[in-house]
């Protein structure tokens, strides 16, 4: 064994030990989580009972689409629709991994078909159509299925003449479907035009995180735009901007507060108040 080999071996061993350590942390993670904001160790149960909000500092953790639906809709009223629409791989896309494999992994990880759930449900008795995105499924990216299901939800609102709610959480357009993903921006925005022409209320709720092609389409053209507390929202990613303009950005850049300051959203809502805020807005728009 050369000295070099000995160092290599030592390094590998260290990595292995470190990995083992993290695994122990993972098992603890089932019971405990750490708040990203205040660093407190929190009992997962306490956080869950508090709508996935840190009981110490009020930081809003990301939540998946099903949890969101449970929090937002009257119990048992949400009916999922268009769940039979699933991902194809029209371009046979392969990057460092095949798109088909990535989809299969995402499905297994999230127990979801795609990055959005569409359907109809009731909010304090008001029937609404909704599309709720899930960041855990491939970063909530919008490909053909997301675009189609969001559009179908809007068309359901048109058919039933009810308000439409879109809850966004997305890194942007899905690169693996290239131009087809880009066209979903046009498709969903054209559907919003139809809602506008029919005079139907369209409320968007921008949650952590909402970026790229979703920000540049149906997310930011709501009649009312609500940002959830602690959400980061933007068009270009922070890193891309920093690389382009070669200067560091303010700490609050692209936060809900930042968007509020620059007049881009109507309001910021805490998770606890979100349902009642939407419900009030729907009632206020009734004539």
């Amino acid at each position: 064994m050369t000295v070099k080999d000995w160092f290599e071996q030592r390094k590998e061993l260290q990595i292995k030990r470190r990995d083992e350590k993290t695994q122990i942390d993972d098992s603890l993670g089932k019971l405990w989580i750490k708040c990203y904001s205040c660093n407190s160790q929190l009992l997962k149960k306490d956080v869950e009972e508090n709508l996935e909000v840190c009981p110490k500092c009020g930081y809003h953790f990301r939540i998946n689409a099903r949890t969101r639906i449970n929090q937002l809709f009257d119990e048992g009223t949400f009916e999922e629709m268009f769940g039979n629409i699933t991902t194809a791989d029209p371009l046979n896309f392969v990057d460092t991994d095949a798109y088909k494999k990535r989809i299969a992994l995402a499905k297994a990880k999230t127990n979801m078909n795609e990055a959005v759930i569409s359907g109809v449900g009731k909010i304090d008795g008001n029937e609404v159509a909704a599309a709720v995105m899930d960041f855990e499924f491939m970063g909530g990216s919008m490909g053909s299925v997301v675009g189609e299901k969001v559009t179908l939800a809007m068309e359901e609102a048109l058919k039933r003449k009810i308000p439409m709610i879109a809850v966004t959480a997305s890194g942007g357009a899905r690169m693996q479907e290239s131009i087809l993903s880009l066209m979903q921006m046009a498709k969903t925005s054209c559907a919003v035009a139809k809602l506008n022409e029919a005079g139907l209320l369209y409320i968007t709720v921008l949650t952590e995180p909402t970026f790229g092609g979703v920000t540049a389409s149906f997310a930011t053209i709501g009649d009312i735009i609500i940002a959830e507390k602690d959400a980061r929202i933007g068009f270009a990613g922070r890193r891309v901007i920093e690389q382009t303009i070669r200067q560091s950005l303010p700490a609050d850049f692209q936060t809900a507060n930042y968007l509020m300051k620059y007049g881009q959203i109507d309001m910021i809502s805490s998770r606890a108040e979100l349902k009642s805020t939407i419900s009030k807005l729907i009632n206020l728009h009734k004539n």
């Binding site: 629409i85 699933t86 991902t87 194809a88 029209p90 371009l91 896309f93 392969v94 990057d95 460092t96 490909g143 053909s144 299925v145 675009g147 189609e148 559009t151 357009a173 899905r174 690169m175 693996q176 479907e177 290239s178 131009i179 087809l180 993903s181 880009l182 066209m183 979903q184 921006m185 046009a186 498709k187 925005s189 054209c190 559907a191 035009a193 139809k194 506008n196 022409e197 790229g212 092609g213 920000t215 540049a216 389409s217 149906f218 997310a219 930011t220 053209i221 933007g234 068009f235 270009a236 990613g237 891309v240 901007i241 382009t244 303009i245 950005l249 850049f253 692209q254 620059y262 881009q264």
Partner: protein, 316 residues
């Protein structure tokens, strides 16, 4: 004229022929037959070269510094162009230029992204990367066209909407989204042509049109191959592979049903013959205008909706 890497062998052959001609002239030797053969071979090689370009080679043509810009096309295809400046809200973004003009006697509103050919020009036009104010200016011009029942022509050549701090402060995403939504409501024919780079939402923000055409060597994609490579491959040098995988060429997009037609470019690319590409573009666009003008506004709008409504591939 800037020479692209893959064109070098061709240039070398042409240089050799020139040399041969000079030698024959100086020495009085008759080598015209050989020269003719060489020239024929060179021209065949040229045809073959441009017919078999890889997506990333065509990307270089689309980004060629001599490629005709929006203002070149305005000069080539319109008369009486009058530029209409500003978003009426405090800014005149120079990356998007628009105005009113006549093409073959037909009044149109023509809007497009503008790139520069030199660094100095590019600083003025921000390399063809619009700020939100550019999209708002475009929208104001679309409304103007709608009011006076004028067809809209958009010419797109942009590496994307500008990713900057000011752009975020003034809502880049919202500006693009508003255009997508409002273009769906227009009562007049809208024709979009991707003339060079059609990158992401920055391009789409001017392209919700009844007919969308691409110049032969232009590209249209959700993200630049470089951006895609650095995110998915975590390696920007994989841009060639990404360009292939993303299916960004005009033929790919026609196959996918995203565009309505391809406008052929002169051999070597649009920059090799401005007149020719100007004429081809004008013919295609005006043919579309003529056909779309026959439609009732409601039909036009519904068909525009249906066009984008159909886009997307999934299992059911």
């Amino acid at each position: 004229m800037a020479i692209l890497e893959f064109e070098k062998p061709l240039i070398e052959i042409q240089e050799k022929i020139k040399e041969l001609k000079q030698i024959s002239e100086a020495s009085g030797m008759d080598v015209s037959e050989q020269i003719e053969t060489f020239e024929r071979q060179a021209s065949e090689y040229k045809k073959e070269l441009y017919a078999n370009l890889t997506p990333s080679q065509r990307l270089q043509i689309a980004r060629h510094s001599d490629r005709p810009t929006f203002l070149d096309y305005v000069k080539l295809i319109t008369t009486d162009f009058i530029e209409l400046h500003g978003d009426r809200q405090g800014t005149d973004d120079r990356a998007i230029i628009g105005g009113i003009a006549k093409i073959d006697g037909q009044s149109v509103v023509i809007v497009g992204t503008q790139k520069g050919k030199t660094t100095k020009e590019n600083l003025i036009y921000n390399f063809g990367m619009p700020q939100p104010q550019g999209y708002r200016k475009a929208l104001r011009l679309f409304y103007h066209a709608n009011k006076f029942n004028l067809p809209i022509i958009t010419l797109i050549d942009t590496p994307g909407a500008y990713p900057g701090m000011k752009a975020e402060e003034t809502a880049q995403g919202t500006a693009i989204a508003e255009n997508l939504k409002e273009m769906a409501k227009l009562n007049v024919p809208v024709i979009a042509v991707i003339t060079g780079e059609g990158c992401s939402g920055g391009a789409l923000g001017l392209a919700v049109a009844d007919k969308v055409f691409m110049l032969e060597h232009s590209y249209y994609t959700v993200i630049s191959p470089e951006g895609c490579a650095s995110i998915l491959w975590r390696d920007a040098s994989k841009a060639d592979v990404a360009a292939q995988a993303l299916k960004i060429t005009s033929e790919d997009l026609l196959d996918l049903g995203i565009i309505d037609g391809i406008i052929n470019e002169p051999l070597g690319g649009a920059h090799c013959n401005y007149e020719e590409i100007g004429n081809s573009l004008k013919t295609t666009v005006m043919q579309a205008v003529k056909e779309l003008k026959k439609e009732k506004p409601e039909t036009l709008k519904q068909e525009r909706y249906n066009k984008f409504r159909r886009m997307g591939v999934f299992c059911q």
